[in-house]
Homo-oligomer: 306 residues x 4
């Protein structure tokens, strides 16, 4: 399995199936991988923000990488989130990912200390030199509180094994700036994070999305990607409408920021795929919240409700 | 001249031509209006953020409305920015705009005090009841520091003379949320502010943009709108690339936030259309900065440089 | 009445007594002025954030200045808030304030457009040259979204009629920076806005506070100022404790940011001093909220509750 | 060595002496500990924000704890910063700290995911139940992007081994709110982080500060604490003036946020105490910057400059 450059399509930002005791739900993970690949997703991104990577103990991180790579068996690329605050440990996790069979890493810069663009770039240079896998930059300011400026992305794109950007910044002007500044690099992958923005990113020239919602209903996002890539605007608008319905219901059961992640794991559990345990500081939905998720899924026609 | 509902196309967020003494450049304003209408823009939005509305003394605001409406002569709708902190004075300016021949107003809520969504909605209800013109909501959080939540927009859309939204929030997820929540209101106009986002807004179902860059080169934005409306993606991508080049050069001569507005006024002046005086606290570019603007315009092929 | 330099003590950031119809409660204003002066406050600051200055129509602003100056009759300085977005109108309001008998103005820079420190300083220079009254700088970032950096304050302090700073930024490190940078200017007045910070500001060398809570119970803040000025730490701690109790109850009846102002006006009304009408977008408390305010005032021993 | 409750005085937020190769400067650490204890500081806080805790590999963290506890030999309490994003690993580091001889931990909540107050409190409850050392809460919003609300602190203070708060939020209104809400808990330690705020915190009833500047000149902060505790305002103001001079010079050599930490390590190195190596993404000052630090230290009279 080699990594296409650029990588196109829908890469699922995969949740980590966990039991209520905080251990890996191994059977659930197998079912989830099949659920995704059978629907045609073009890759899996594990241990990212959606995958609770930064909240998982080291050994559990290894278990997830290993189990996923084994189940995938080279059918699509497996990309591992590396969101460490210590350079040495970021390199170690990347090496572990390679050893266990992954094709690439997605990495943020350290996110405890505010850092300047020059400092971020130095960090990326050191990481790129030491990491044994191709690396995507992870622009995720609402989690890391730093942003890779377009000029920083452009500079980092010159380091040999930095191969793309996952932009979760929700700022399409930024995305277009980066895209324009890298017009001479058709091999450099540009993916957006939020699924609500994948269609326009692809219509304007981006390569795809790392969609979290595709955990629940992968076919929707694959169809949307295909419609955008084929410039079928009627289909794009119809599918985007469903994307927005999911986003404004399942992800907004309460006002907490964790509502998105808790809603998503609950929905996947309600579809019978895996358990919805979560790592601290988060907890799965209670019965009343689960009932609302069932209702929303019923309205979308994704489960049968009496 | 009646106001189309919805209003579609490129509505120029017009700069206010000012002399270096801070008085209206009347001849410049006439030339600017002709520059825009002859290129096919679908409306003019005056006294907005780009028009320095909130920095203009009252009497000058009236002069701008009067001179613009007179020069336009009903060829396209004239829409007036109303960004007051006092309800009574917002109503007065709207009445003055109607009296002088404008077709609509674009209004923010008061922006000195942080306010809740319920308080914003009450304000909009009182304004809608008292304003004698159709009103667009002005979502401009980087200037007003409040945002009209999608639910607030939906509620306000029920007030009789609230006819649309100008969204300058740079957040396409927000725009899509609003759009989906108003699917049953095809008459309610949805325009984006930032010109860099007009193409995708239109591709996904929005009605157009209030583009500031169209002061400089209106044909570019009219062509882009038409390409998006016709779903000609090749043209969209080609034109969007020029939009981004302008945005990352002319608007970024220095690091100040005023660089956008100062660069735009300087560029229009360099095209020989009008003076580039500015209201406090801003000042026109100096000679070195003007030279860079000329250089950028030359690279875009919009002026002849030796 | 001349303005002491520096101005020391408790300057009440006075609420504007309004009827439920939005007109001036003239008798209430007279009672409020007497309530404050008889308790020993050292000045009145009208039309500030607490005074709803930015939400009052021009004519009502004049009425408030006139009625206050008349009632005060030169017993303490009257200082007028000038928070305009147009330079020319800021100068006009300052001239009007002088004409009606006020001793000074407190002025922010325009707050619609984000501006650089250099732009802010140019604005202050032009304002200082044109304003016919001594001017305090108003550092109020949560309302104006700009901050006067310590170096900007130091530069502005050299303009002839800029006489002091009201710092409402809630950042004591900033206050100490400014204070240190102006050690050679013992005449330059340094006041803090938030009443919760007056004690420490005075203990460390500041001149006093523009306390909003002194509308309700002026003696508390006068006593606290005197205790801090006399370095009576036991009294400071005891009085500060009451200040914090007021702040965490009367100002926090609901989660809206307007809760502070609505709670304060309600409390003054419950003490029988004046009406609690408010300008849009805010509304007075309802009966349930008023009952909570009565309860809090009863617990503080400021009203008799059965 | 048992932990006083409350813990009073100056606790140095100790830098981690590192060589330019990123290894522990063991001899430097010994000198630094003696430099601090001989000046009378009341405790050491290691592996915090100042100590680059979140940027140090696990094994280096252990080395620092071990070497510090050994050198201190029970003369003052040693408190260890625990800023992990994984609950299990936070508990492990606390256990390691106890094993190596530390007296307490200072812990943030996980800082990758935005979390609600209820989620933060649940996390603190689980941590408190599992951690084998007394725990101080670490309120550090500019690094962790969450804040422990006063009500959350009050609730957490009921968990058996939560013994105090280090508040680095730079918001004295918050500090006073917390202090008032815990008036019935004289054993609960309240320390401020920023050294510029220690004096007023102590004057108003707080217990002391975790001062980073005391790495450089510990006597200054010990004297300031003593002056505040003794209510000697003349001395407080004189010493505070020096604190502000350091803060506005040594910590502000460039505009990067890392300037504070780099300046501090450089200053300690210039005093001949230890090396100034730093962990990625930060780098030590270059020669020109070092020269400015020398100049500042000379002006403060702390080194002899020709």
């Amino acid at each position: 399995m080699s990594l296409p450059q650029p990588l196109r399509g829908v890469i699922t930002a995969m949740i980590t199936p966990l039991t209520r005791k905080g251990t890996l739900d191994g059977r659930g993970l197998e079912r989830l991988v099949e659920h995704l690949i059978s629907a045609g997703v073009h890759g899996l991104f594990i241990l990212g923000t959606t995958g609770e990577g930064p909240a998982l103990p080291r050994s559990l991180q290894s278990d997830v990488i290993k189990a996923t790579c084994q189940q995938v068996g080279g059918r699509v690329p497996v990309i591992v989130g590396v969101t460490e605050t210590v350079l040495e440990e970021a390199v170690e996790l990347t090496a572990k990912a390679k050893e266990l069979g992954a094709q690439a890493a997605v990495t943020s810069a350290p996110y405890y200390y505010p850092a300047s663009q020059a400092e971020l770039l130095t960090y990326l240079e050191e990481l790129a030199a030491a990491a044994p896998l191709p690396v995507f930059l992870y622009n995720a300011p609402s989690n890391t509180h730093h942003r890779f400026d377009p000029a920083t992305v452009r500079s980092a794109a010159r380091f040999p094994n930095i191969v793309g950007l996952k932009d979760s910044g929700c700022d399409m002007i930024y995305f277009h700036c980066v895209r324009e500044s890298l017009r001479d690099r058709p091999d450099f992958t540009l993916l957006v994070g939020p699924e609500e923005l994948m269609a326009e990113a692809v219509l304007l020239g981006g390569h795809g999305g790392m969609c979290a919602g595709s955990n629940i209903w992968p076919r929707l996002y694959v169809d949307l990607y295909n419609a955008a890539a084929a410039c079928d605007l009627d289909a794009v608008r119809r599918l985007q409408s469903t994307v927005m319905r999911l986003s404004t219901t399942v992800y907004r059961v309460d006002a907490r920021e964790s509502s998105l992640l808790r809603g998503m794991k609950c929905a996947v559990a309600e579809l019978g795929i895996c358990d919805d345990g979560m790592m601290p500081p988060f907890e799965p939905f209670d019965d009343a919240e689960r009932a609302r998720i069932r209702e929303y899924l019923g309205e979308l026609g994704w489960i049968h409700t009496p």
